[in-house]
């Protein structure tokens, strides 16, 4: 079961759309990596793209950043089409890729200076920005040391710094916290918030639901290249209908279990197979006895029960029939 919504064209008053993706398609032969994705994002907001590995998040970001040529659709950054007016579009973009993109032999200062200069900064402006980014990322005291001597967390922070040194109006972050220790993760998320506070539009991809919940103003749930749901956190919660997700493992006869649950009000089968039953239930704690009774009558043997209250993960499960981390 897939729930998709038409893309609302969100207006930010008189501001133009910072990111405008319309029916984006990217295919590799017969494999369709991104299939008709559409969304927009405005100034000083965070748009989150949430989905499991292989969902199409990185491909979407790569199309926006100009790394990949879209097969179809239209992408523009601050009104500049990334295909036809790529240079102007990229001028306003900052990238924080998933893999580190640093010159290990050079110092933090040299890395920041290079990428700042690559985006047109020079002289005292460049120097000032480099100093500011070093401060903000907490790397000022090791600024002259080769980056290869940094810890993983420090390298992640510098990776972020290289993406913001030129003060981009649009910042693309592709799973920036993968493999990062909790302390560095918190720091990175703070850095993102600081950018947003300065008016930067951020596109943030992640498969960590809690990051999306904590950071994003708008979230798009993506899987198999398609945007399954799009909205603010509250809107998405509304799609859930405030229903809990009940996860039961044990031994079931799927048809009998479906029939048994179907007779109950306020309960709906999401997934049913011989070892797993997932239900979408209103006020599950109150419904539990009835559910167990119905399943028992249907010959089911329940071994383990997990109750998940409405969240993005439960929405994801509801939309895709599987968990975010499968």
């Amino acid at each position: 079961m897939v729930l998709s919504m038409a893309t609302p064209r969100v207006s930010f008053g008189d501001d133009i759309l910072m990111i405008d993706v319309q029916d984006l398609r990217k295919s590799y032969g017969e494999l369709v990596a991104v299939d008709g994705v559409s969304f927009t994002a405005g100034r000083g907001s965070v748009f989150g793209l949430l989905g499991p590995n292989g969902a199409g998040k990185s491909t979407t970001i790569s199309c926006i950043s100009g790394l990949l040529q879209p097969t179809g659709g239209r992408v523009s950054v601050l009104g500049h089409d990334v295909t036809r007016d790529g240079r102007a579009a990229r001028q306003h973009l900052g990238i924080v890729p998933q893999e580190l993109a640093l010159y290990g032999e050079l110092s933090a200062t040299d890395n920041l200076s290079y990428w700042g200069a690559a985006y047109g900064l020079r002289g005292s402006a460049l120097k000032g920005r480099v100093g500011a980014v070093l401060e903000v990322t907490g790397l000022a005291d090791r600024a002259q040391e080769p980056v290869k001597t940094f810890s993983g967390g420090m390298q992640r922070r510098l990776n972020f710094g290289c993406g913001i040194v030129h003060q981009p109006q649009v910042l693309l972050l592709d799973e920036p916290t993968v493999g990062v220790d909790p302390q560095s993760r918190v720091r990175l998320l703070d850095l993102v918030r600081e950018q947003v506070a300065d008016g930067t539009c951020v596109l943030y991809t992640t498969h960590y639901m809690e990051e999306a919940q904590a950071l994003c103003d708008q979230i798009g749930i993506i899987d198999h290249g398609k945007l399954l749901a799009l909205g603010t956190l509250n809107e998405l919660r509304g799609m859930m209908g405030e229903r809990d997700i009940l996860r039961l493992t044990g031994r079931f006869e799927p048809a009998r279990a479906r029939a048994a649950v179907g007779r109950l009000e306020h309960a709906e089968v999401v997934t049913a197979d011989e070892g797993l039953l997932m239900l979408s239930v209103e006020a599950a704690t109150r419904m539990l006895p009835a559910i167990f009774s119905a399943l028992s009558d249907a010959g089911a043997e329940v071994q383990e029960t997990t109750l998940t209250q409405p969240s993005l993960e439960s929405l994801f499960i509801k939309l895709t029939g599987r968990e975010l981390r499968e």
């Binding site: 990229r90 580190l100 993109a101 290990g104």
Partner: protein, 418 residues
């Protein structure tokens, strides 16, 4: 354009961050040049064969032979040492010496009497060049003996044999006749020989295109012959080594970031070429300095030679950058680059000079990018460069660089994301 300069600066900084590799690159041509100087000296003399001589014949002619080997033009190629038979055999069997010459007992008498006699020459089988020179020298002697026998053999034999009539010595009239015969023959020969009716003048044209009468001692110089090729061996290895930098950037993730930046990838690659130009110029400067100090190169020739090395070396770097991104993996790329660099080095005159190769091989090699460069470098260092030839070579090299650069930039985006 500014991106070109900042990329070049970035790449130079990265190179200087690995000083050991840089020292090795600079050290290679210095070491090679120094070795040229050590191995072949600075007087340009050809190698000499060391001949051990066992003279079992104590005659005048036997001694003349031994003396002649070390004189008259052959002294440029041979040095002679008298030994006894046992010592001689032991030494040549041990590989000490080029050859052992055994002059048999009765050698002189046999020659005088026009009787068969044999010189035995035992050569060192581990040597390739010098034994042939010794054989040549002895063959020349053998011919000289033949002609001498034809010319003067009869009267001299008669003198040596003594009177046939049972007298103890020749009478005055007989001596006068014999002397007259010898004199007449010598006079007749002298008309043709002194001066020689076929008057051979040898001119060895040096690199300046001017003739140097006098021949072999100014004819060649190993150091000068090998040095330009050796310099370009260093340049080729440098170009190959720097060529895999795109892989390093891909693996570091910085190549993807560069692709996403607003400026053209042409400047990004151009930055690597510019950095390469600077580094190759540094290496070439050291190499040419060795040529100035060790091989007597006039210092005024140095700047052009360095500039040429830098120009050609940068073109080779273009080639290796585009070769590097042909491979689907770094190992595959290294393989392709190895398969390119060694044949180029061999056939292009960096292992051995083009002049030492068979004509067809040298002709092919002269048209490889490094072959073109080596040929003109030699002219710039030691000869008289012809502007037209330099222009042709420069154009061919530039064309190679241009084509490979375009291919590289075109493929770079897909390489970055693959």
């Amino acid at each position: 354009m500014r991106f070109l300069l900042i990329s070049a600066r970035k790449d130079l900084r990265r190179r200087f961050a690995d000083p050991v590799a840089l020292i090795i690159w600079i050290g290679l041509p210095v070491m090679l040049g120094t070795m040229m100087s050590l191995l072949f000296g600075d007087d340009g003399r050809p190698p000499t064969a060391h001949v051990l001589v066992v003279n079992q014949d104590d005659s005048l002619i036997g001694n003349l032979l031994v003396g002649a080997l070390g004189q008259g033009g052959m002294d440029a190629f041979l040095s002679v040492e008298d030994v006894d038979l046992d010592t001689g055999r032991e030494r040549i069997d041990d590989g000490d010496g080029t050859a052992l010459l055994i002059v048999p007992e009765g050698f002189g008498t046999a020659l005088l009497n026009d009787e068969p006699t044999t010189l035995t020459l035992i050569t060192n089988p581990a040597q390739r060049i010098l034994p042939a020179i010794v054989v040549e020298g002895l063959e020349i002697f053998s011919e000289a003996v033949f002609y001498s026998q034809r010319l003067l053999g009869a009267p001299i034999r008669e003198l040596v044999d003594g009177p046939s009539t049972g007298q103890d010595s020749f009478d005055t009239a007989t001596i006068a006749v014999l002397a007259a015969q010898i004199n007449n023959r010598l006079t007749a020969a002298g008309d043709l020989l002194f001066p020689p009716m076929l008057d051979l003048d040898v001119v060895t044209t040096d690199r300046a295109g001017e003739g140097n009468p006098g021949g072999p001692s100014s004819g060649f110089d190993f150091g000068r012959l090998f040095l330009p090729g050796m310099i370009f061996m260093s340049v080729l290895f440098m170009a190959q080594g720097m060529g895999d930098d795109l892989w390093k950037e891909k693996q570091a993730g910085t190549l993807r970031r560069a692709v996403s930046s607003p400026d053209s990838l042409l400047w990004f690659v151009g930055g690597k070429l510019l950095a390469g130009l600077v580094l190759i110029a540094m290496v070439a400067t050291m190499a040419v300095l060795v040529a100035v100090l060790a091989l007597g190169l006039p210092p005024l020739r140095a700047p052009l030679a360095v500039a040429w090395c830098a120009y050609a070396g940068t073109a080779l770097l273009c080639l290796f950058l585009s070769i590097a991104i042909l491979g689907s993996t770094k190992r595959a790329a290294n393989l392709i680059s190895t398969m390119t660099v060694f044949p180029l080095m061999m056939i292009g005159g960096s292992f051995f000079p083009l002049e030492l190769m068979p004509a067809w091989m040298g002709a092919v090699g002269a048209w490889t990018p490094n072959g073109l460069a080596v040929v003109q470098l030699r002219e710039l260092l030691f000869g008289t460069p012809e502007p037209a030839a330099v222009a042709v070579a420069a154009t061919a090299i530039a064309a190679t660089a241009g084509v490979t650069l375009l291919l590289c930039v075109r493929r770079l985006r897909s390489f970055a994301i693959s």
